[in-house]
Amino acid sequence: MKKLFPVEELARDDRFRRVAIAERITDGRSPANAKNQEKLQGRLTPARPDAPDAARQLMHGIFTGEIQALEGAGRTCWDFPVGKVTDEAPDAVPFELKLDMARQCWDEARHCEISVKLSDWMGTVIGEFSEATFLYEAACNPDPVLRLTGVNRALEGLAIDVFNTMREFGDSAGDPVLEFCEDWMLADEVTHVKMGSDWLRRLTATDPERQARALEFQRIVDKLFSLGGFRGEDDDSPVRLARRFRELAGFDTDEMDELAEISRESRDEATRYQEQALAAADGGA
């Protein structure tokens, strides 16, 4: 069976349609241009006029993310040899790491089923919205330490933020089903992030250079996944950084402060891209 499976070959039926991250970032339109700014952006709460549809769209994004998380953890079970790191096998991992990944597969498969049922509940059809595949792309790193750091600390960390936001949305909207499901999935995500934190520490205990590369990869993934300020601590960030749950998962305060700063940078960059695209369009009109 093939190792390091490319994103292009992921199995999807014709309900799914992919949109590349570059296409999103370079979209010349900007929410900032809307005439009526009243609560159209900002944190996902029932106070937003578009709240029910925004929650449906986010739920669909969670669903496709769960599929890719399952695929990523599954690949990590297969892609690397078991044993001690040697010159011949620099990507070897302990068997216990694979057991953790197998457990994560089980969790993610359950999350996929929960997400489908939640989508039914909210009136969303599979494939109604596009799929972004950058979660799986981060899970293609050939170094298992970098992969686990990028996926389990950066991406599953984002999942903590998203699930906590959705859980709070369910609570404030009075939706008992959404709140309950998100709360249970959130508990799993904290465990997944903790796995990433623990394995990063154990596998790089005697290799600080590898640890530094892993943390740098995490920063890159975190920046990509801040999605132009989608996740952050500013008032207009739809998804809020869930500091308490991240703390439980092994993040320290400095790391979370840095994450908040990365989100701000990402938002500023996205704004610049949009302004450039808009200026180019105006110039060509």
Binding site: R24, R29, S30, P31, N33, A34, L40, D50, G123
Partner: protein
């Protein structure tokens, strides 16, 4: 004789929309809903958001952000199905407002979230019966209604009355919305 439907802008640069296609779609909806026009559809292509409002009844003017007309699976691409859903819902509101028997609802900008969700349920229910379904529109609107009125059996019953309703008045909509909200309080 002036043009029945005018789309502004006539040429789009930030989205792959075609003004002639939009005009034809709106004309078809006007025919189906028994509305005359003239109608101006102002599309704001500078934002991907999906706000859609009636800004004037006489003359008839609809103002729509580009996200409301695009395919949610493909950035900047036009979706006839989504556009029919959004514009059809607005035009049913127009038809209600022009009907003296319907009553006098507040201006769109003064509608509360529960009132808007209730009127949407009534409008989209009629639109679906005219053959314009889109994904699972009933469940989508039920979720919107529940979010605005609470998750209760009373709210679901009120929603069903709105969704299946014909010849409802603004007073009926207000009553059903109020009953549902009261049950959650």
């Amino acid at each position: 004789m002036g043009q029945r439907v005018t789309v502004e802008p006539a040429t789009f640069t930030l989205v792959d929309f075609d003004a002639a296609e939009l005009e034809a779609l709106v004309e078809g909806l006007l025919d189906q809903l028994g509305l005359d026009g003239p109608l101006t559809l102002e599309v704001d292509e500078r934002t991907p958001l999906g706000r859609a409002v009636i800004t004037s009844l006489d003359p008839l003017v609809l103002e729509v952000e580009s996200g409301a007309l695009q395919d949610a699976r493909s950035l900047r691409s036009f979706s006839a199905v989504s556009s029919t859903n959004v514009l059809g819902r607005l035009l049913l509101r127009v038809r209600d407002r022009l009907d003296p028997a319907f009553g006098e609802p507040p201006a769109d900008t003064d509608l509360t979230f529960p009132q808007a969700a209730a009127w949407d349920a009534y409008s989209v229910g009629r639109l679906v019966r005219l053959g314009h379904d889109r994904f699972d529109e009933r469940q989508r609107r039920l979720y919107q209604f529940r979010t605005r009125h609470g998750f209760s059996d009373v709210a679901d019953a009120a929603f069903a009355a709105l969704w299946d309703g014909t010849d409802l008045t603004w007073a009926d909509i207000e009553r059903l919305s109020g009953d549902a909200a009261a049950a959650a309080a």
